[in-house]
Symmetry: C3
Subunit: 428 residues, 3 copies
Amino acid sequence: MMIGNEMHEFARELWPINRSLTGNGVRETLGRIRQYLPGLEVFEVPSGSKAFDWVVPKEWAVKSAWIKTPSGETICDFSKNNLHLVGYSIPFSGMLKLQELQNHLYSLPDMPTAIPYITSYYQERWGFCLSQYQRDQLKDGQYEVHIDSELFDGHLTYGEYLVKGRLDSEVFLSTYICHPSMANNELSGPVVTSYIAKFVSELLRPRYSYRFVFIPETIGSLTYLSRNLDHLRRNVVAGFNVSCVGDERAYSYLPSRAGTTISDRVAKHVLSHIAGNYEEYGWADRGSDERQYCAPGVDLPIATIMRSKYGRYPEYHTSLDDLETVVTPDGLLGGYKALKFAIECLEANVYPKATQLGEPQMGSRGLYPTLSTTGSSFEVRTLMDILTWSDGKHSVLDIAEKCEKPAWEIAPMVKMLVDHELLTLSDH
Amino acid sequence: MMIGNEMHEFARELWPINRSLTGNGVRETLGRIRQYLPGLEVFEVPSGSKAFDWVVPKEWAVKSAWIKTPSGETICDFSKNNLHLVGYSIPFSGMLKLQELQNHLYSLPDMPTAIPYITSYYQERWGFCLSQYQRDQLKDGQYEVHIDSELFDGHLTYGEYLVKGRLDSEVFLSTYICHPSMANNELSGPVVTSYIAKFVSELLRPRYSYRFVFIPETIGSLTYLSRNLDHLRRNVVAGFNVSCVGDERAYSYLPSRAGTTISDRVAKHVLSHIAGNYEEYGWADRGSDERQYCAPGVDLPIATIMRSKYGRYPEYHTSLDDLETVVTPDGLLGGYKALKFAIECLEANVYPKATQLGEPQMGSRGLYPTLSTTGSSFEVRTLMDILTWSDGKHSVLDIAEKCEKPAWEIAPMVKMLVDHELLTLSDH
Amino acid sequence: MMIGNEMHEFARELWPINRSLTGNGVRETLGRIRQYLPGLEVFEVPSGSKAFDWVVPKEWAVKSAWIKTPSGETICDFSKNNLHLVGYSIPFSGMLKLQELQNHLYSLPDMPTAIPYITSYYQERWGFCLSQYQRDQLKDGQYEVHIDSELFDGHLTYGEYLVKGRLDSEVFLSTYICHPSMANNELSGPVVTSYIAKFVSELLRPRYSYRFVFIPETIGSLTYLSRNLDHLRRNVVAGFNVSCVGDERAYSYLPSRAGTTISDRVAKHVLSHIAGNYEEYGWADRGSDERQYCAPGVDLPIATIMRSKYGRYPEYHTSLDDLETVVTPDGLLGGYKALKFAIECLEANVYPKATQLGEPQMGSRGLYPTLSTTGSSFEVRTLMDILTWSDGKHSVLDIAEKCEKPAWEIAPMVKMLVDHELLTLSDH
């Protein structure tokens, strides 16, 4: 639980920052992640840069934004909750009748206490989000609207963190830092990814290299891909998109487009062992950066492990997706563990080969009871199962599946058999 | 319904003609089909010609045939119903006692009002078919039997109709014109095939070439194959045997021998979308010309789409298989539509490839809402699904199956994306 | 039943012999098998010989062994039941208090009337086995223990029997002759294998060569493999480990390690036709010499057909596994038949190819009714099914599975079609 509490604390620290596709909120968020990952590199890509079919948008800055009611009350105050302002709202000041103002207000009739999360990145608009409950109480009259925002040629900012392993082959993890004050989608992603990156950085001589990126969703992954596609296609052998890893209500898996990569197998292996009844989604249910990483012509082996999936929990994309009732220390810990086990599976997934023809004489090595009785072979069954599948064609993950045990329990037994010179290992 | 009624009318026109393996009934049937398909070529193959392991039989002609009862009543009159005479009956005239006559009579004890359909193509015999009800009323005495038929060295007649497309690759449709006055098996086949051929002939620049043959069953397909095997094996990429496509009670699919050809996939795709609960038969249930088209060494990709399958509806091969209670305009229309959709699937089944890396910017093309809300992506989901599978390896049929939608609904969306220069297409 | 009774009689003859890994009991058993198989070759491998990771153990001989109770009663008398002495017990003579003796006694609290079967091949020990019931009645006092046994550099003995066929490719059957007086595991194996070898030796010009080995379990198969691995890997195309084939309660199948060899297919084919509800085990349930034959680097295509599997019937490895209540003539006959059918499947499993394009004219060959009626094709359906799958790519076993009939019923029909020159056959 300690790590769960630490992560929850870190999420609270990041909570009030106004993250969006671009801007100082992103920079500040990356700055705080760098406290955990000193090697984190930050990149700035100018507005107007091409990213495949897309263009990096203007940078957005907000000083203040609010509405004053006819009775003089200030509502929808951006300084109180950054969800009140439609993302990428243009500057505006003026007096409007309630009827005119209504065209710029967004609320959710079915969730009367929730402030919705709305953005308009690619068409210039302004607007405010508020609860339906509050909206229903607005009275006719003149409203003063104030939005001191700016859209200007600036930069898109993202972070990248690399841990070098024994192999050039890379495991790639991506999470996004563009969502303002919401917890599962998406403070959980950057928070858990920071801790996973820290865990990996502390591994003793990992087999794979690990690359972590902290980017704005969609335009960020497209920008990153457009600058690194050749390298990624050449080196990435597995990876995960990290999103919605913070609540306690479910575990979920969403496949890569191919559906059959090692990342898919590992994700399903981990979830089947830590949460037998996890939700298995299809590619048709995609909705995060896997859309770009697995796009035709990109085709990276990226699968997604989640707790409750975006779009499938009631508080999604509203102010109710918070750190009190939705995202918990236990929820974050579960997300962390699932990704940690996935990485352990990948690290362990070498190909053992038996050194002896036929079954080895386990007894002479002290690995087998010397007295045969009806039940005596039971205890060493798993060792024998590992040996029988160690034909150089089955990986540790294959063998773990044959044994119906988690790869992270098989791995130490493989190591013991290597120590007894009954197995040799190869990366492939 | 208009086409359904037209086809039903055409079936009525063909009904009284005495079709068999050979003879003028076949020629007259083909003549009437030629009214719809002016380019229909008619071929005559001499009796005695070899067709693989078989020999083209003698031509059969019937002037008249009847039995006169002891009381002077004329029964089993061929001019009233051509089913009364066993197909390929040799000539005979004489007086027989009822007991002797019984050896030449065929009826169905379980279906007392039905005249069965009986043939004896490859052994010389004569016989009459009648209802069990009528047979039970025959009284002892002398019966005059009269069969003015002829078996002579003539020809086997068949028709062939070709529509040239952009590709030399051919879609092959075959139906048979050897069954006398029965409706589902088999006026429905030649009638629907005539209308499908007309539909194809009116397509604007079809992708595939289409070849239609109207032949007698078994000896006709063997004869046709023995004369055209090399061409067919080289060019035919898909095809259907058309039989029993006229009643309303079921849709049925019978596979090719391989079971995995594009014709099989298309047949199942079409039927699953127009009739979720269609009957799926196996190759063990075969019984029509697919036996020849899919024979070892022939191996054409021919599947069968039917309404109620031959042998699986109570009126099969009897006088009860009629145009009143069994085959209806609606039944024929369903058979027509299924084959039309199958052809549309084949025509549409190109391989799209996305022109952009990553998802394209749909918003800038007016294809996507510019305001993100929780439900906004719903309307364009299918467009995005088409794009994500357009990797040049998935055909339109593959993509339609991924989207769980009919290919004929996906095809126009593919066209729209091509018009927006987001996809290119290739035949493979 | 006659063969069942003969086999049961032979099992009775072998029953009292003291079989173990080595020794005169093995030699005598092989000598009696040689009465049925005069060509049986017997091999002697010296103690201390290497067998992969193992070493051939010392030879074990027992003259007498018993315990005398304080009241002078002789119990655990080896001459009455060789299960009383722990296998490979070292010599010992002396007086022990009951408490000391208890450390050398083995019984089964859950099966109070059964003498357990215990061995200690690879650690020097002595011990006695007795029923829990008898053990409970032992009274305090001095016990005289007498074991006149010897462990000495001798030989491991095994038998090999070869039937040459038309092909060099071999079918390999192995059974073990190291178990003392128990019936299903394991007098049934050598008894049924002897009769199967006799059956094969009487085949008229078999297609495959057949190799039978009678060996002690584990060390025997390892020794045999280490001396013959290259030949076996080059020639063995199928085979079965024969164990537990004598009771009437079940049929069981245990796969090869690969699970997809022809032996696996044949085993499942046979059992599905003779015992629809047979038990299907997995490789995880292995426990006999298939562990060696299918080990990585050995990889012979060896599957196992059993009646009640070792370890899965209550009398397993106890004195209750007897020839009265467990193994019966009917039980042995069932094991024999299953293996006989398996061999018939392998012999029959050639690749037929149709000589004619299209369906042949069966009528002209007297193979088809000449009068077509609604039901007429029923009788020849299987012949037509055989012909339609005879494309040179489907074997007789494939075809039998398509027809849902046993291969041994399809084989004579294939022969008939060959006689009519409608099929040709090839070994592959």
